[in-house]
Amino acid sequence: MKLFVSEGNPHCLKVLAALQVSGVQCDVQYVNHDERVVPFLSRPALPALLLPSGLHLFSSNAICRYLFEVSGQDCSELCGQWLEWEATDLQPVLLQALHTAVLQGKGSEVSQVLKGSLNHLEQSLSKGNTPYLTGDAVSVADVVLWAALYPVLSDSSLALDERKCVKTWFDRGAATQSLQSAAQKVLQGKGLQGMKNYMQRQPAPQSSQCRDTQPCNSSPAEGEESER
C-alpha cells in the first residue's frame, strides 16, 4: 500500500492526518502537483492511495474512510453524512475561500465566504452537545473536517468568536499531534502561503451562486447573498 501526496495540497493534509490517527502502516511518497499517479485519470489527482489489489483511490475522503476502516473504526451513517457534506457543500466554498485569501490576498473576505458553512457546523455542534461531530469519540468525520478547515481557521485573520462550539471543537483538533504534524508536512510552516503554488494550478472556482437557479451575479465576491 502506498500513499502519494504533494506539498501545499490541502487535500493531502486530510489523508496525512487520517494516516496518523488511524495508525495504519503505509509508505508515503511525495510527488509534484502535476504528477499523474492514477493511470486512468487524465488530470493529476492527489492524494492517491495505491491499494494492495493494485487499484487506486483518488478521493481524499474515500482514502481517509478506508484508513479508518482498516484500523477497525467503521464510518457510521452520521459520519458518512458529514463526509458527504464536506465534499459537496464545504469544499466548493473552501476552494473559493482559499482562492480569495491565497491568490487575491483578500484574507478579510474569507469569513464572509465561509459564513454559511460555519453556521451549519455551529448549529449542529450546539444541537448535538457532544465534543465531537458524531459523539463522544473522534471519528473520521472530525479528522477530515479539522484538516479541511485547518489552513483557513488557523490563520489569524479569521475570528471564530461568535461561534463558540466550532471554536472549542476546532481547537481540540488543532491541538492534536497528528494534525500538527500533518499540517507541518503540507504547509511547511508557511500557513496559507504554503498553498500558493498549488492554488495557482487550480482552475478558478465557479461561484456557487452561478450553479444554482438564481441568476448569476456579476461580482459574487462582494456577496450580499448568504452561502446556502
Partner: protein, 173 residues
C-alpha cells in the same frame, strides 16, 4: 431528479414502504425524515441508508477495499458529474472509459450501488452522444448497456439505444 432516483432505488431494493422525502436549499439536497433519529441529508447518505434498510450490504462492497472504491464513485458522482460543464464531461467520459477497460462493474466483478449512481449520473451525457461519439467511449457504453439491462433494475430513466457492433471502421467527419 434526486428524489425520483431514490424512489427507483427503493423499488429496485424491494422496500415495501416508500419513504417520504423533502429537499433543502437551492441545490435541492434530498432529506429523509427518520423515525429513529435525526433526518438524513444528502443523496449518498440516504442511498446507503436504503441499502442497509433492505439488508443488501454487499451493494456497498464486500471488502474494505471494495467499500472504499464504491464510496469513491458515489462521491465522484455528486461532486464531479453533477453540474459538470461540457468540457469536464469529455474528460469524465474519457477517464471512465479507460477505467472500465478491464472491468465488468465499477467495483470490479460485483454489481454495486456505485454502478447505479454513475449510471444515473452519466445518463444525460450518454443520451446526447452521437453514434460516433459512443464508439469513442466503447467501454462506457458496454458497461452502460449492461447496467440498464441489469436484472430487476427498473429505472426512471428512458433506455438508450446502444449499438454493440462498430458501424464506423474509422472516424468520419
Amino acid at each position: 431528479m434526486a428524489l425520483r432516483e431514490l424512489s427507483s432505488l427503493e423499488k429496485y431494493l424491494g422496500l415495501k414502504k416508500p419513504n417520504k422525502y423533502s429537499t433543502q436549499g437551492d441545490k435541492k439536497i434530498p432529506v429523509l425524515q427518520n423515525n429513529n433519529g435525526p433526518p438524513l441529508v444528502g443523496l449518498v447518505t440516504i442511498a446507503c441508508h436504503l441499502v442497509k434498510e433492505a439488508k443488501r450490504p454487499e451493494l456497498l462492497g464486500d471488502s474494505a477495499e471494495s467499500r472504499a472504491v464504491v464510496q469513491q464513485w458515489l462521491e465522484h458522482r455528486v461532486t464531479k458529474l453533477d453540474g459538470c460543464t461540457k468540457e469536464d464531461m469529455k474528460t469524465i467520459l474519457k477517464d471512465l472509459n479507460l477505467y472500465l477497460q478491464d472491468k465488468v462493474y465499477l467495483a470490479g466483478n460485483q454489481f454495486t450501488l456505485a454502478d447505479v449512481f454513475i449510471y444515473c449520473g452519466v445518463h444525460p451525457l450518454i443520451v446526447d452522444l452521437a453514434v460516433q461519439e459512443k464508439e469513442q467511449y466503447v467501454n462506457v457504453t458496454r458497461w452502460f448497456d449492461h447496467i440498464q439491462h441489469h436484472l430487476g433494475l427498473k429505472h426512471h430513466l428512458p433506455p438508450v439505444v446502444v449499438l454493440r457492433n462498430r458501424i464506423y471502421t474509422s472516424r468520419h467527419h
